[in-house]
Every structure is written in C-alpha cells, then in structure tokens.
C-alpha cells in the first residue's frame, strides 16, 4: 500500500506568549513543530505500512526550514519525504496551497491513500485536505476515527460526526483526514532518528511541477487580508468575595438572571 501523508509545519502554540502591551502573539523564539493533528496522520500511515507493506511518503509545502518537519516524520517511520518550496508559493491561501500540494502528489504518481490531519492548528480551516482531493479528483472522507478494513482497492472507515459516527466504504485511491481518536502517535525510535539524520529530502520548485503559475501563491489565492486588528479586551470582570455561603447566594442570583 502506497501512502502519502501531507503535513504542515506550524508554530508550537503551547509556547506562544502574548505581548501584554500590544496583546499580540510573540513569535520570536517559538519552536516550529509538525501540526499536532498531522502526527495522527503520520502514525496511521506508518501503521498501515507495517500491516500491509508498501511505503509512506510525507509531503509538505513550505519554506526551506520545513525540512525539519519532514525529517521528524522520517524518524517516526516515514520512508521518503518531499518538500515543495519556492518563493512563488508564498502568500498561498487554502485554494493555492491545495493546488500546489495536489501537483506534488501527481509527481509522486503511484498512491493508494492520502492522509491529512483534520486541520492545522495555526489556521484551523480544515480546507486543504478536501482541497487536495478535489484538485486530484479523488474521493475524500473527513474526520476519520478508525480504519476498519482495507482489501483489494477498497477501504472501510469510520467518520466522526457531531452525533456519533458513520461507516463509509470507498474505492482507492482516497484521501482521508484523521482525528485524534484514531491512534496514539508513537515517539521516534533511536534507529529512526539516525535514519532521519541521513535522509535525503527531495525539494521541488515551480519548475519541477506541472502547474499554471496563475494558480500559485499570492495571485492564485482568491482570499485577501483586508484588515488585522486586536479584539477589544473584555472589561475587567467583577470579583465576588465573601464567605462560601455569601458567594453562592450571589452566584445563584447571577445564574438566575443570565440563564
């Protein structure tokens, strides 16, 4: 089974600090990590490979330093890694990003399954996975929480919904986006780390891909940022003080009013 896992390098938000004066994020010194949701995608890809054979290729689009994310994926069990990197990709929104990644996938030719995390922790759009599937004209199943079975070019999965889950069968190739219920990602192995140190990452630019430049980067992106602003801070809340009994009386009043 040949599997492609699409990942994104994001800032580690658990370490993001906020500048108290401007109330904006302080990015300086913030570590870059693999999007946490993509860790489940990598793990699922590696597990499928371990079960059915084949190989796992990780794919990302980003600046040269995104290579670190790909190397980490290799330490976790991925076999090969491809980085799409070119100044022409800068400014891509989800449309242009999925267009570019789909072109990268086409370059890899043979694949049965593409796995993405359900969304990226820095943008939370959940659009790029379905976007890649649409550009490639393959089916998709989003929010997959379990792969039930894989046999002869068909796959059966459980898709999480607001009320529970659905069981969906699909032909392969297919793109799935996965949720954290699907597995517990492993930590790397020492041998995996050694392998990733020596791994060669394939870097592809505009010239290596079969793309129309009008669909790339800033110009290929339908959305534009018109304004950026800091949300107005909530006014200082009221502190309720007193004995536990007094506090509870006040709370009961507030709850009655606000319900």
């Amino acid at each position: 089974m040949n599997i492609i896992v699409c990942i994104k390098q994001v800032p580690e938000t658990t370490e993001v600090r906020i500048n108290p004066e401007t109330n904006t994020l302080m990015r300086e010194g913030v570590k870059s990590i693999i999007n946490p949701f993509d860790m489940y995608a990598i793990e699922e890809g590696v597990r499928l490979k371990e079960k059915f054979g084949g190989k796992v290729t990780v794919l990302t689009m980003g600046p040269p330093q995104a290579e670190a994310a790909l190397k980490e994926a290799i330490s976790l069990g991925a076999d090969e890694a491809v980085l799409l990197s070119d100044r022409a990709f800068a400014g891509s929104d989800t449309w242009a990003t999925s267009y570019t990644l789909a072109a990268g996938v086409r370059k890899l030719k043979e694949y049965d399954l593409i796995i993405c995390g359900k969304q990226a922790s820095d943008g939370d759009t959940a659009q790029v996975g379905p976007g890649i599937a649409t550009h490639l004209d393959i089916p998709q199943v989003t929010y997959v929480k379990k792969i039930e079975e894989v046999k002869d070019k068909t796959i059966k999965v459980e898709r999480m919904t607001e009320e529970g889950y659905e069981i969906i069968e699909s032909s392969l190739p297919l793109l799935i986006t996965v949720v954290k219920e699907i597995n517990t990602p492993r930590v790397p192995s020492l041998r995996g780390l050694m392998r990733s140190k020596q791994a060669k990452i394939t870097v592809l630019g505009v010239k290596d891909l079969d793309v129309e430049t009008a669909n790339l980067g800033l110009c290929g992106s339908p959305t534009q940022v018109a304004k950026i602003f800091t949300p107005p801070a909530r006014p200082e809340g009221e502190k309720i003080k007193g004995t536990a009994e007094e506090i509870v009386v006040k709370l009961a009043e507030i709850l009655k009013r606000e319900k």
Partner: protein
C-alpha cells in the same frame, strides 16, 4: 517580491512590526528620518499574508495583488445563499442561524436570500426555511441525496452555483459543511473563509467582509475575496442567533432535478451510528460547567455533573482534564476540542491557557472559580471567584436545588 516597503513613505513608526504574525519585519537604522529608522522585510520569513498592509497608517507597504489578472464584472452574480444542512430529513439549527445573518447581509447588498436544500422528501422543511427568512429555496429532492455524501452534494451545488450565480454562499462549519464547501470552493475557484465570527458588507464596494480569529486567536483578521464569486464563508454553530420563524412569510420554491453521473459517489455510506455518550453535545448547551486540572481527580467531576444537572447544562473539560483521563474527549473545550458559545460558561479549576480561551471566550457570561488569583481565566471572566471549588460547587448545587423547590 510582490511585497515592498515604499522607502519615501515609511516613517519607522513600528506599527507593522507589531502586527506581523511571522516576525518577518525588522527596523533598520536610517539617518534623515524623524525616528531614525525604517522597516525592512525579511523574505525568508514573510508569507505574504498581508497583515502589515492595512496596519500601516502611511500606506508605505505595497502588496502587489494588482499585478494579478482580475475579473471585475460580477454584475450577474446576485443573492446570498445559505446551505441548509439536513440530517435524517431535519434541517439543522445552524441553517437558521445562517439565515438570520444572511438577511442582514442581503439588506446591505440590496439583494435576496436563498436556501439550498438537498435531500429526499423535505416538503415541511422547505416551508420552514421560508418562514425562517429564505426568499427562495432551491430544492433538489432525490433518493440518492437523502444522506450527505461529498461527491453528489458537491456536484449538484456546483451546478446550481454555475446556473444561478450567487454573490455570497454561507455554510455551517460542521463536519458536513466543512467537507462540502471545501470541495465546492476548489471546483469553482472561489475564496473561502473558515469559521467566521463576524460577517458584514462593505457598502461601498458591495463585498463581503469576513472576520475570523487568525494566528491562534489573539488577532482578528478581516478577509475579503473581491475578485472571485461567490464569496464563501463558514460559520461555527452558535456564533449567530437563530432567525425567528415567521409563518406569514412567503417565498418561492425552485425545484431542480438531476440524474445520472452527477449523483454518482465513489464513497458509500453503509451505516450511521449515534452514540449515546456524544449526544451530550456540549456545542448545543446553553450552560456549560467546565472543569480543569484544578478539579484534582476524576471523582470531583461528579460535583460538576451535579451542578450541570441542576442548571440544565452540560459538562465541559479542559485539555488537561481530558489528557489526565478524567473526562472523555467529546467534552473537551478549546482549540483541539470544541468551540462553544453558551449563555453561561462556568470555569472551575481551569487556569485559562490560550488554547482553552479561544474555545470559549465568546460565551455570553463567563464565571470563573479558581484558587489561584493570578490564573489567566480571570482576564476573560465576567465574574471571578478566588476560592475552593470543592467547597463552592456543592454548596451552589444545593442552593440551586432549594431555589427550584
């Protein structure tokens, strides 16, 4: 690069530097300027996100979108459309929330509101959509569309959009909506903004202003798609109030029929399983009593369950509590869990990490109880109590039960 700083206009005020989410702007010393410095962009870090452009008061940053070839005539695109998500033949509340907002937008755009409903035998639901504010309902009723499936739904709606040309298209940010609209936007090459918390109209340009939290939630970004139609946006459940049903309203029903390949799907829905446990959909609750690490043990969550029961609400949890195995993931509020917007959110022993705050800070009233007076949760709380949760919560439950007797 398509972004540049116009040296003559830059005053070295550092406003852009503070807005840049990627730390890609630096100040360089420059003699002759009043501030003695000037902004410089680091292209290795710049993603061309454009955040700095509107931040500059002196119009000194140029992002050359204008070099892109642009279609300008969108006169034949009219109307605000709402995707009316249905499950098991019932239109979901999110559709009514979107209809309410769509009416406001349509008024500012000088156009009408339509709902798009796909399914099988939905007569009553069509009527309800009109009562809730749709001027037109585009209805496609086929056995094959009874349950949501990505491919046929995408194909049908793309056909409808190409035929009727709406200027805006709104969709719920649900598990169905997010999958569907992403496919549609790619097929028709339209701009799509996810999880908008505010939608408005630029009355001059007659375009949609789509506002959402960006870069982790501390900054809001207003997104526009001036050169593509329709302008597409998703909105999370509970962000806007539901439109009130008005049984006097009249509307037009446009039925479309599709057959053949357009309804084909390479995926097949075999079964739908509703789980009892996740029916406690915290996203639907009007009152949420949530606990964090400060609850100290899974047993203490029973106190929160009792309080939630007394209030008719649901129990939420922080990531710390879920990771400790005290509550199932379906109860997790925050960036990696659910976004909630209840009338009242009671945070018990939750310190208020930024990841948690982005999931609940739009709640109407926030009450925080925590033993640490410096917990960041107090910064967003309308009412803050520094005290012992294990003492206050049971007392409050008791008090509330007395009150209803």
């Amino acid at each position: 690069m398509p972004i540049q700083i116009i040296v003559e206009k830059c005053t070295g005020c550092t406003l852009c530097l503070k807005t840049c989410p990627f730390d890609a702007i630096r100040m360089m010393d420059k003699k002759g300027l009043p501030t003695g410095r000037q902004a410089v962009i680091n292209f290795d870090k710049c993603t061309l996100c454009g955040a700095c452009v509107p931040a500059c008061k002196f119009k000194a940053i140029l992002l050359q979108k204008e070099v892109c070839p642009v279609k300008v005539d969108f006169n034949d695109y009219k109307g605000v459309w709402v995707f009316a998500e249905q499950k098991k033949g019932k239109v979901q509340p999110i559709a009514f929330e979107l209809l309410g907002k769509a009416r406001e937008l349509a008024a500012d755009l000088g156009t009408d509101v339509s709902a798009v409903l796909l399914g099988d035998r939905l007569e009553e639901e069509i009527q309800e959509l009109i009562w809730r504010g749709a001027d037109k309902v585009y209805a496609v009723e086929k056995f094959e569309l009874a349950n949501y499936q990505d491919e046929p739904y995408t194909n049908v709606i793309v056909e409808l959009i190409n035929k009727y040309k709406p200027e805006a298209f709104l969709c719920g940010a649900t598990s169905i909506g997010r999958s569907l609209i992403s496919r549609i936007a790619i097929k028709i090459k339209a701009g799509l903004t996810a999880d908008c918390t505010e939608l408005a109209v630029d009355k001059e340009k007659k375009i949609l202003l789509q506002t959402r939290p960006a870069f982790g939630g501390n900054i809001m970004a207003t997104i526009v798609c001036p050169n593509y139609r329709p302008q597409m946006a998703t909105v999370r459940h509970k962000v806007f109030p539901e439109a009130i049903s008005d049984m006097k309203r009249k509307g037009k029903v446009i039925r479309e029929n599709f057959d053949g390949a357009i309804l084909n799907s390479r995926t097949r829905l075999l079964d739908i399983i509703d789980e009892i446990e996740s029916t406690v959909n915290i996203a639907d609750a009007d009152i949420i009593v949530a606990g964090g690490r400060g609850m100290k043990s899974p047993e203490n969550f029973k106190l929160l369950e009792e309080l939630a029961k007394a209030l008719g609400g649901a129990v939420g949890a922080s990531r710390a509590a879920v990771d400790s195995g005290w509550m199932p993931y379906s109860h997790q509020v925050g960036q990696t869990g659910k976004t909630v917007c209840p009338k009242v959110y009671i945070a018990c022993g939750i310190s208020g990490q930024i990841q948690h705050l982005v999931g609940m800070q739009s709640s109407r009233t926030i009450i925080a109880i925590n033993s640490d007076p410096y917990a960041p949760i107090f910064k967003v709380a309308n009412y803050g109590i520094v005290g012992d949760i294990l003492e206050i919560v049971p007392l409050l439950t008791k008090k509330l039960k007395e009150g209803t007797r």
